[in-house]
Symmetry: C2
Subunit: 155 residues, 2 copies
């Protein structure tokens, strides 16, 4: 998997959060994910299917950051990861993947998106089961961290 493929997801995440919630994420350094620990308390997951490959994308938020995004978007600050926060994470997952899909489609790399699923729980784990390497990319914000994960077969 090359940078040209990962970058659309990174820029799409930053764009979505900046536009929807005026939350600016500072990107860290991408790495290979070697373990299964989710880097957050709530994770949006989405499956992708293209003519030449398939894969999965996830984004995990620490509770503080998820709550802050909700606060910035709606003006009210939930005290926990409630249903509204979970729905918001699902919507963000959809929008980020949709943004990346558009950019990658222009480069001739097409895929379709499944419906997102949101998972939550302190200390949950996520294991992508594609055959390719698992890329993890950290983002920081004063309210907490976010981590994006991408894994594709045969790239």
């Amino acid at each position: 998997m090359n940078v040209e493929f990962v970058n659309p997801f990174l820029s799409s995440l930053q764009n979505v959060l900046s536009m929807m919630a005026q939350v600016e994420l500072k990107p860290g350094k991408p790495a290979m994910k070697k373990d299964d620990r989710a880097r957050g308390d709530v994770s949006g997951l989405i499956g992708m299917v293209g003519p030449k490959t398939k894969g999965s994308f996830s984004i995990s938020f620490e509770e503080g950051l998820a709550v802050e995004i909700m606060h910035k978007m709606l003006g009210e600050k939930p005290t926990e990861l409630n249903e509204e926060v979970i729905d918001m994470v699902g919507e963000i997952t959809n929008m980020v993947t949709g943004g990346a899909k558009r950019i990658l489609g222009e480069k001739g790399f097409d895929f379709d998106m499944a419906s997102p699923v949101v998972v939550s729980g302190h200390n949950h784990t996520i294991r992508h089961r594609s055959e390719g390497p698992k890329i993890i990319m950290p983002f920081s914000h004063p309210a907490g961290k976010a981590h994006l994960e991408i894994c594709f077969d045969k790239l």
Copy 2:
């Protein structure tokens, strides 16, 4: 979503576990899932994309049942939800969805499968974000319970 669509997933799950591990699951009564609680300690999730719809499927196992399946398949009994059990749940998710895809394809309902993702953690939650109803189907076994969940847009 009608029974004709759900049944292939149920029979595929029973077939896969019976064939792979000689584990016979007793089906319970399907219901609509109204909350987000995962009915188990480890869940395999997979996205599906068809020309007319998209959705997500998950299967959650209680730890005791996941460990028992592993035991029956490989002869060794892990003491916890380790990496091998997680990989096995991913493989079961793939095989069950593949079996259902074949049956549904014969009926003219085609979809492609994304790569599975496996989530684990005591007290994790799963929220399918398709627009359609979320069907949950319980299965029982002396070693523990399994629950299958299916959700599709526009069926």
